[in-house]
Subunit: 414 residues, 2 copies
């Protein structure tokens, strides 16, 4: 298995100003392509720290992917540090200048001296033109190992990974063997209850098959992973273990896709030509945003109402004011009216409605922080359920979203 | 300066299934407390890799904070690995069992054998009780250095950092000197244009003051950082440099808070007792979710409409169908009607409305992917602006949110 290290560079990552979403994206793509990511290292824009990280990575990994520190400003030093590390110098590259001019021109801007400096590249590398930004991607080969340096701007990095780096790595390492994952989404279990249930199953697994428990907010994803040089063999092993798992857990496995819950529902709604709307109180737009983050969601997603205030529930969703008075906003009666109301207003086949106490304040003895009512509507039938999540606002929002999606997935079926 | 390394452990971080938000949170809190985070390392649930990471961290950092791998299931091996690393063994701890029983009891569950095993802790450490989860936090002192192991579940980690670890570290390292940050939010510049403008200013900075360019989606945050043993001295230096920056950039600095844009507007709306609603097309709920993620947002946020379809724009926001026919959904006329409509429907003082082509499809020659119209309403006055962002959906959504927030911040003033 070809082992990879990801090095992310930037002071902003070390003071917590920016969450490193890049390395997760890179890891996912690499993993799907059969590469094994073993280390991730983050250092600041400090020459010594970058150099030390490079040395360590070369001592242990076959492929080193570096992001960040390629901006035109003085605080970005990755390019110069790589030159020193590989004992080379910067040279002017006409093709890179042409690409930079094109990219800058597309946004209607003029090229200035600083941006022009992006056309200076290390002498002993392969330059990969960046079609969506001004910092070129550079590819070094050294001691039979590969280092690729790419921009830290997420969509430039994504473009480079998908269009250039992954295809080139696949060609270069065509004999990487296979990594297979299979996911199972489980309801009705806590992590430890599930682990007890699966003790025997786990003990029976071969060395090259691993079972992981991934409690995402509100449900558990089980992941079987097999790594082996023989792709066909590992596929048959994973298939057999998957069948065993399914027979042990039965109906409590509500989905067996590797997709996230929202992507899974997104695909189902498109394939079944169903439309969706959402009525959100405590999730505050998060549920809608999970769907609309997906390209193509306009095929089914008609819209939603974030009804934070009681007035909004009445005026925008047709919830009855007596119901709000008698039962309170966080109640079965209100959340069911929200689901029916949003379906009606947006004329959709399905709806998800959520009303709860996200916290940290707003709880009462009867309805403590973490109390959430969720209703789904499908085929004019409404199903609702009460939950008691945590004291944490962010967690409560995410668990509400995930459980609403799960409830609708179960109602629609496969 | 006391240097810190963060080690995050978990296979899910190396296959990209989970984005590591923990280390950003930890880094932010540590940084605010005056600690210098120099390295972040991520390894999988592999004993050799964890041990190597621990050895390296002990060779360079004074404080090592470890998250993850503390679940009760077999794939979690951090506790056993720490025992071997520190040459100690697990012992039963009655107080930990009591805490675990309390925590499990609160969620109405029964304690099972697996969860009970959380009461076994390394012998030579200080146990810090976890009041919000079942895995205790363990604190080791070794060669004058400190290692703290905490759960990877985000809200348990956050609880432990805020309530136990940061206070204890501050007490232990009371002479850590000072790190000061000052942020400036700049509009109307690209990163390279801004760097040219600030060349002289940058060259004049002392060694212990650093200027960083942090282009967040759609605007640039400049960050001045000063590190020095003398807290008063560094404060006066940073104050003086801040004044210089302000006089160079003038009106193009639209905010000078260290908060994110949404937190800054959140605070302004609360302090000025203004209410807000949002009308979202291409941002699809993301804008609402940025506000509602903040505790206390119900003080000003009344709600919003995600009007993905044209029908929703007409029925839920009162946009005129002739306007949609004549100008199209992505137009000044429509977005201004959306802003006026949502203000009216939710009876709010302010509103932000967004309509655009997020992509990757849906673009036309006149309105390519990335075209976004944003309108804000304040004091019954509507201001709108057109943008041409990128080809990337995620980036377009974020830039739209940030620019909508910026426009309203500017309209409201300080």
């Amino acid at each position: 298995m070809t082992e990879v290290e990801i090095i992310t560079i930037g002071d902003e990552l070390l003071i917590g100003q920016v969450v490193d979403t890049n390395s997760a994206f890179m890891a996912e793509k690499l993993n799907q392509a059969g590469f094994d990511i073993r280390w991730k290292t983050t250092v600041g824009d400090i020459k010594k720290d970058i150099t030390d990280a490079l040395k360590l990575a070369f001592s242990r990994a076959s492929i080193i992917l570096v992001t960040g520190g390629l901006g035109p400003t003085n605080d970005d030093i990755t390019k110069h540090t790589l030159c020193d590390f590989f004992n080379t110098k910067l040279v002017f590259d006409a093709e890179t200048l042409k690409t930079v001019e094109e990219v800058v021109g597309q946004s209607g801007r003029q090229l200035n001296e600083l941006t022009r400096s992006q056309a200076f590249v290390p002498q002993n590398c392969t330059v990969i033109q960046n079609r969506v930004g001004t910092a070129p991607v550079t590819w070094f080969e050294h001691d039979g190992k590969i280092l690729v340096s790419m921009p830290g701007v997420p969509y430039e990095m994504k473009w480079a990974m998908e269009n250039e780096i992954i295809p080139r790595l696949k060609e270069r390492f065509s004999d990487t063997g296979a990594i297979l994952h299979r996911s199972f989404w489980v309801k009705n279990y806590s992590e430890s209850m599930l682990a007890q249930k699966l003790t025997q199953f786990e003990e029976s697994l071969s060395d090259f098959v691993k079972l992981a428990y991934l409690p995402t907010s509100g449900v558990i994803r089980l992941r079987l992973t097999g790594k082996h040089s023989d792709a066909l063999f590992i596929q048959s092993v994973i298939n057999a273990e998957s069948e065993k798992l399914k027979s042990i857990l039965g109906e409590d496995i509500f989905s067996d896709t590797d997709d996230s819950l929202e992507v899974s529902l997104h695909k189902t709604l498109i394939s079944k030509r169903l439309t969706l709307s959402v009525a959100e109180s405590c999730t505050g737009g998060k549920l809608a945003s999970l769907f609309t983050a997906q390209a193509g969601s306009s095929q089914y997603f008609q819209g939603g109402v974030v009804s934070y205030s009681n007035e909004a529930k009445i005026n925008m969703l047709g919830v009855k004011s007596e119901t709000l008075e008698n039962y309170g906003a966080v109640s079965q009666e209100v959340v069911e009216q929200m689901a029916a109301g949003v379906c009606e207003k947006f004329q959709t086949d399905c709806a998800i409605a959520v009303s709860g106490v996200a916290g940290p304040s707003g709880g009462t003895p009867e309805k403590p922080v973490g109390t959430v009512w969720i209703a789904i509507s499908f085929n004019k039938k409404i199903v609702s359920q009460q939950f008691l999540f945590t004291k944490n606002r962010e967690t409560n929002i995410l668990r509400s979203c995930n459980n609403g999606i799960r409830m609708l997935m179960e109602a629609i079926g496969k």
